[in-house]
Amino acid sequence: MSYIELKNISKSFGEKEVIKNFDLSIDRGEFISLLGPSGCGKTTLLRMVAGFIDPTEGEIIIDGKTVFSSEKNIYVKTGKRNLGMVFQSYAVWPHMTVYENVAYPLKIKKLPNEEQRERTMAILRQVGLENREKDYPWSLSGGQQQRVALARGLVMEPSVLLLDEPLSNLDVQLRQKMKEEIMDIQKRTGVTVIYVTHDQSEALQMSDRIVVLSNGNTEQIGTPEEIYHQPRTIFTANFVGRMNFIRKDGRTIGIRPEYISVIRPGDTEAKPGSHSIKGNLGRYIFEGSRNEYFFDTEKGEISVETPNALPLSVGEDALLSWDRQVDFEEEMHEVDA
């Protein structure tokens, strides 16, 4: 049996159903991301695992223990689920020092003082804050405050660490650094993580598996590679990375911009791939590490991404060719394009 199981979870707020028959199994030590736009239900799911919200229906099992079941009428209180949680707003207690913040969960569990000290200092070393133990949160930067929150979430060695958009209050550079730190800490502690985010790059970089959600429905569950290269729905393909869509016989074909190679007329060395289309270069964007070209074709505009600049000027014709593509069952809607 899996370490954590969410079985047939539904949740309605009044008339509005925000989660519909959601199922998920998580293995011990896995890093799972719940990814989706705001209002997709990802935070609601996380808060149901935490016990802040009760599902209308379904069952939640953590480490072999049923913590919620609508059928068997089981409800285990939040504090008894052995969880750690990190909030978007850090929620570091402003009146306590770094040490007091991190030691608080141990104090509540009435661990001997010596053990409290040992474990708190050990986790503070893990997050690199061992020298700031006596400081108050207001003297810390946002990143350091989030590390305090992380340490506080981990100090009890929880069954699951719940992270609710923990990086969205940080600036871009710090975010990258914190991503790596969170992954590093997760590897070292082996803690199981459920990570809520609307940022696809966070989900792709950090997760073992990603759950893509929209409007309370599961769009797809899979490894980052699967989600990126084999998206099952247009929604997923659009939400994670960029994709060109071509209509064909009531179906839709998706091609990632980097799948396409460009063959200039008279370029005899290049062999066309299994699919190709003629295009005329409309515009070009330089983005440093990559170059983006937009070709006008009979199927609409198609973007191509290459690491190196092409010897091609705006207005010139070229043949776009690719081997890899994704077939979708659905018809593409105008809004998706």
Binding site: M85, S89, P105, I108
Partner: protein
């Protein structure tokens, strides 16, 4: 403009404060500490100081506990009757503390409802409770102030981020542990500043100790100052009153400074992320009992006093039980036909209207100079206009008397004993409030809005009329009402400055009480409360602001 502002503030605030300090150090035209010696070593004065400290401190502690409790239960739990409790606490704001004191005197006084009931039940002629003196003053202060604490703390309980509590829920902490370890400590700075607010307000209050203290010769600093001022057997009564006033000011200033010192850097800025409203704590079987307890308390601070004075105002004669045979509306007819009432009504309306206009004008001018024009004199202007915030009404009244008693130079007449001295006192006392409201909203105007106007070539006067005033016109309106309403029922300044023909509504109530006409004074109190409530509701509707209340 700077000159005009400086002159106005100097005459209105600077000079009276200067003169009261000078007078407190003067005896027979020479510098002396004699007045202070008397202020401290005369046992009556010393006792009054102690009384002030005792009643203010103990009512502050009690009101804080009760107010915080009420705020916690109505905001953070699933207690029953929350809305009712909230309305009852809000309603208390329409009842000025001195009317509250009068109402409770009717309930708990020697011939009050409770004693009468006891006597009727037991046939005894003893009284079981007596509101006069220390206990009664503490009671009424606590009842009034708890509503103030409630209002302040309510918004703080609402602002506290739910994730701070959830982070503790995750650890398995019990609701009590969360309250003790997280909620209370996080709110400590705001509780502390609410306490200071209440303490200073009660130290400065004149109405309550005068209603409940005079009869039993229990004096606090404010009422003692009045007594000294009117004690013409003392050669230096003015000077001693001045030094007692200075002592009172020193206490309030020290308290306010201590607050600023202690809170420096402690006001936690809580970063706001998306925070869902935390689920209210479940009280289980205590849900309804708690609701009943707080509803009863809410009644005690609003309905009981109102019903008590309403009943008296509708009874033929004071002391008769309230019943169908004794029901009468004649007190209202009497009051409405009284020349005293008509004068007081006219005076209070005139004073409140005019004082609010002048205060807002001065407040606006100084705010403009300090915030928009960034005048070099802004430091000193702001200091002077902020002084009244730390000066109790009693002291302001004495200062105004000392400053304006003598004929005005050049013009050759004195405004003492005219309505104008009351107007000047109102403006001196309230203009600081207008300044605070208006400068606050001027600070909020985004610099770039102003700069955009500058870029497009607008000069300062144009920027004022086309950008600034339209943006802050609501706050100008609000500050007008925030002065108009308290002036309408103003007691402390008026009681020192009124003269025959120049009564105000609040002094009229006192006059009627002193004349033993309790039924009429109650009818007048009911009219005042109704008027305040009506204006508040009107303002709330027009400006969409809550808790205007004076």
């Amino acid at each position: 403009m700077v000159l005009l502002a400086a002159l106005l503030l100097a005459v209105l605030i600077g000079y009276p404060v200067f003169i009261i300090i000078i007078r407190s150090f003067t005896l027979d035209g020479a510098l002396s500490l004699e007045n202070y010696k008397e202020a401290f070593f005369d046992s009556s004065n010393y006792k009054a100081l102690m009384h002030s400290l005792i009643v203010s401190a103990s009512s502050t502690v009690l009101a804080t506990i009760i107010g915080c409790g009420a705020a916690y239960f109505t905001v953070r739990t699933d207690m029953a009757f929350k809305k009712l409790v909230h309305s009852l606490f809000l309603f208390n704001f329409f009842i000025p503390p001195f009317i509250m004191a009068m109402a409770w005197r009717q309930i708990l006084g020697p011939v009050g409802t409770v004693n009468k009931l006891y006597q009727a039940l037991t046939g005894s002629t003893d009284t079981i409770i007596n509101i006069y003196g220390q206990g009664g003053i503490i009671l009424v202060f606590t009842l009034s102030s708890s509503a103030m604490v409630y209002m302040v703390m309510r918004s703080n309980f609402e602002k506290i981020q739910s994730s701070l509590e959830e982070a503790a829920v995750i650890t398995g902490a019990s609701p009590f542990q969360i309250f003790k370890d997280i909620v209370m400590p996080v709110l400590k700075p705001s509780i502390f500043s609410a306490m200071i607010l209440v303490f200073v307000a009660n130290m400065s209050n004149y109405g309550v100790p005068s209603v409940l203290g005079f009869h039993v010769s229990y004096y606090t600093l404010t009422t003692r100052i009045r007594q000294v001022l009117e004690d013409f057997s003392m050669a230096n009564n003015m000077e001693v009153a001045a030094s007692l006033s200075t002592v009172l000011v020193i206490i309030t200033v020290l308290t306010l400074t201590a607050k600023d010192r202690m809170l420096k850097g402690k006001e936690f800025t809580l970063i706001t992320g998306k925070s869902e409203k935390a689920a209210p704590n479940e009280l289980g079987r205590w849900r309804i009992p708690m609701g009943i307890v707080w509803s009863l308390y809410g009644m005690a601070i609003s309905f009981c006093p109102i019903l008590s004075i309403l009943a008296t105002s509708l009874t033929k004669a004071y002391g008769l039980p309230f019943s169908i045979e004794n029901f009468s509306l004649k007190n209202y007819a009497t009051v409405l036909n009284m020349p005293l009432f008509q004068r007081a009504m006219q005076n209070s309306l005139f004073l409140a209207f005019t004082a609010a206009f002048i205060s807002v004008a001065i407040g606006f001018l100084v705010a403009y100079l300090c915030v928009m024009a960034r005048s070099k004199a802004s430091g000193i202007l702001e200091f002077v206009i902020s002084m009244p915030a730390a000066i109790p009404g009693t002291v302001m009244a004495i200062a105004i008397i000392l400053a304006w008693l003598r004929p005005i130079p050049v013009l050759g007449f004195s405004i003492y004993n005219t309505i104008w001295i009351i107007l000047i006192a109102y403006v001196a006392n309230y203009t600081t409030q207008a300044f605070r409201t208006i400068s606050g909203s001027m600070y909020q105007i985004n610099r770039s809005l102003e700069e955009a106007a500058v870029i497009s070539g607008a000069e300062l006067p144009k920027i004022m009329t086309s950008i600034v005033i339209p943006l802050i016109k609501e706050s100008i309106g609000t500050s007008w009402f925030l002065i108009f309403i308290p002036c309408l029922r103003e007691l402390t300044l008026s009681i020192f400055l009124w003269s025959s023909g120049n009564e105000t509504l609040a002094t009229a109530i006192f006059t009627l009480q002193d004349a033993g006409n309790y039924t009429a004074s109650c009818a007048l109190s009911v009219l005042i409360i109704a008027m305040i409530a009506a204006v508040n509701i009107f303002v709330g509707k027009v400006f969409h602001i809550k808790g205007t209340v004076g």
